[in-house]
């Protein structure tokens, strides 16, 4: 260890990614898992309050999975993914508002833009290690926030953009809120599928190698920078798509709602950390745990005082950090191994 090396931000994940991911059996498990994720939707689709929460849960699960591609598997702890989210949201809305382009198509330019923008801004930043990288990405978020406020012609400035309610499938605006839920579920499923395919590919293995030890990775013939950039492009593009979907759901976007870190950029990280960073299921579990909890606490205690629900949420996260260092997925994995080990001893 060189004297300048600091301990990694991401705790070592004991889960051997490849062996969990390969094989038909695990594909079936993932499909079953997605089926399970549908259950809350099916049970609570009549309650508008919970339906909204479930919609957000699916969306943020997908976004956390997208974030995890470069941050969890790649080891590049970004707190600037809010930028990609916002670019996706603004691009999709703008294309729809000004040129009437269907969001089904409109999400793609944002994704492509971020697939280029992401590597561009991350490339010089990759030189920084650990926390410094994270802080630099925070700066991107702040710069983009100022930019969004300033470029009124593009982003609508501080007022933002409002998409009028013209319900039609081609507009990605639905009268029935359950269709939005289905949309977000689709996004989550696609994000998970992309992650699984990635981690069963050469790029996925290379990504893990780069995360673990860059020198060893180079000695194995891996172009470290190339791998990081490709993973960034994928992660950023996917996040932008999520942003586009978000824009068509809430239909009113402004710099505050897009760039407030605790709601967006940092939340992706938080969900993945709590659920288990560096795994496929972790970000999803994190979203399923935190988003409903947060919304429920806000509804329950929102009146008691400003930010009371955030304090409680922070407390939950503190507990997770103390007792579940590898997140929920890691805790489950540890229990499984202990159970298997105990069985072997009988």
């Amino acid at each position: 260890m060189s004297p300048n090396e600091e301990p990694p931000l991401i705790p070592e994940t004991n889960r051997p990614a490849g062996s969990i991911l390969s094989g038909r059996r695990t594909t079936i498990l993932y499909l079953a898992g997605l089926g399970l994720a549908l259950v809350p939707f099916l049970l609570l689709s009549r309650d508008l309050f919970w339906l909204n929460i479930i919609t957000y849960t699916y969306l943020f699960a997908g976004l956390a999975v997208a974030w995890n591609i470069i941050a969890g598997f790649g080891g590049q702890f970004s707190l600037g993914h809010g930028v990609f989210f916002a670019v996706g949201a603004y691009t999709t809305s703008r294309l729809f508002l000004t040129w009437g382009i269907s969001p089904w198509l409109g999400i793609l330019p944002g994704a492509l833009l971020c697939a280029v923008l992401g590597p561009l801004i991350f490339l010089p930043t990759f030189r920084l290690k650990g926390s410094f990288f994270a802080i630099a990405t925070l700066a991107f978020n702040e710069v983009a926030f100022v930019f969004a406020n300033y470029m009124e012609s593009l982003t609508g400035g501080p007022r933002g953009l409002q998409v009028p309610f013209r319900a039609a499938f081609v507009n990605m605006i639905f009268a029935d809120p359950r269709h939005y839920t289905g949309l977000m579920f689709g996004f989550m499923a696609i994000a998970v599928a992309i992650s699984v395919v990635l981690m069963r590919s050469r790029l996925g293995y290379y990504l893990l190698a780069v995360r673990e030890d860059e020198d060893s990775a180079r000695a194995a013939g891996i172009s470290v920078t190339g791998v990081k950039l490709r993973a960034t492009a994928l992660s950023a593009g996917l996040t932008a798509i999520g942003g586009g979907l978000f824009a068509m759901y809430v239909r009113t976007i402004d710099p505050i709602s897009l760039f407030t870190l605790s709601d967006v950029g940092v939340k992706f990280a938080l969900l993945s950390l709590i659920g288990g960073i560096g795994t496929i299921t972790g970000p999803v579990l994190g979203a399923f745990l935190i988003i409903p909890l947060e919304s429920y606490l806000r509804a329950l205690f929102g009146g008691a005082g400003p930010g009371v629900h955030l304090v409680l949420l922070g407390f939950v996260m503190l507990l997770a950090a103390l007792f579940m260092r590898r997140g929920v997925a890691g805790a489950i994995d540890a229990m499984r191994r202990r159970w298997r080990h105990r069985n072997q001893q009988r």
Partner: protein, 241 residues
């Protein structure tokens, strides 16, 4: 006269005012086994890092198969057939033994199934195939060393650089390693190794290069070198080998 397979020509490495490697030159012929020995701090690992591309030389040239590789990074050199192991075995602990080997195998076998097959092949070669599904974190030291070698072998190298690969191994493990390397050498792999264990150097090397304080002080046949007075003094103090 045709150019030698691997040529190190007047390589220099300076860190500020310190000259860590001082105009070291030597050649390695295809299929040879060459050891680099020298006391601690002689610059062996720095030289190695210059050869693998982790460090760029301050002066001098390194050529592999007639190509100047000075400007190439470690990954590019790996792609040209230069494999290396690290002094401190660094397996990818989040992965299994097989997956570790696959990381190397992917270089020439981009498809998952092919890489897996190649990985099994190199693991069999080093005797680790039985531990393929074990998490790399659970391997013993000797197994980790062998995994390092396996990962380098998966690159299908023409030249392999081993950095103190015998350190910490017991006698039977050392012998098993030597047997393995002899097999690989017979199949055409060229070896350049840093080694402290003189028994290994005697048993395994054809030629020995001695470094001391960054400079090459002797080069020649293993047995002959190890009895040269300068080498004995520099390396071993006044004790006999």
């Amino acid at each position: 006269m045709s150019e030698p397979f691997f040529r190190v020509h007047s390589v220099v490495k300076r860190f500020g005012g310190l000259v860590a490697v001082n105009e070291v030159s030597f050649d390695v012929a295809r299929g040879e086994i060459v050891s680099i020995i020298g006391p601690n701090g002689a610059g062996k690992t720095t030289l190695f890092n210059l050869l693998t591309g982790q460090l760029k030389p301050s002066a001098g040239e390194v050529r592999l198969n007639g190509n100047a590789i000075n400007a190439l990074g470690p990954d590019q050199r790996a792609r040209l057939g230069l494999g290396r192991t690290f002094q401190i075995a660094k397996p990818l602990t989040a992965l299994t033994t097989l997956e570790n080997a696959m990381v190397g195998a992917f270089l020439h076998h981009p498809r998952l199934a092919d890489a897996e097959a190649k990985a099994h092949e190199v693991l069999r070669e080093v005797g680790l195939d039985g531990r393929a599904r074990i998490r790399a974190a659970e391997l013993t030291l000797s197994e980790r060393r062998r995994l390092e070698v396996a990962r380098a072998l998966a690159l299908e190298p023409v030249l392999i650089l081993l950095d103190e690969v015998m350190a910490g191994l017991n006698q039977s493990e050392v012998q098993a390693s030597i047997d393995l390397f002899r097999r690989l050498n017979a199949a055409g792999l060229t070896f350049l190794i840093i080694e402290h264990n003189l028994k290994v150097v005697r048993a395994f090397s054809e030629r020995v290069i001695v470094l001391d304080r960054g400079a090459k002080i002797a080069e020649g046949d293993a047995e002959q070198i190890l009895t040269t007075p300068e080498v004995v003094t520099a390396y071993l103090g006044k004790r006999k080998a």
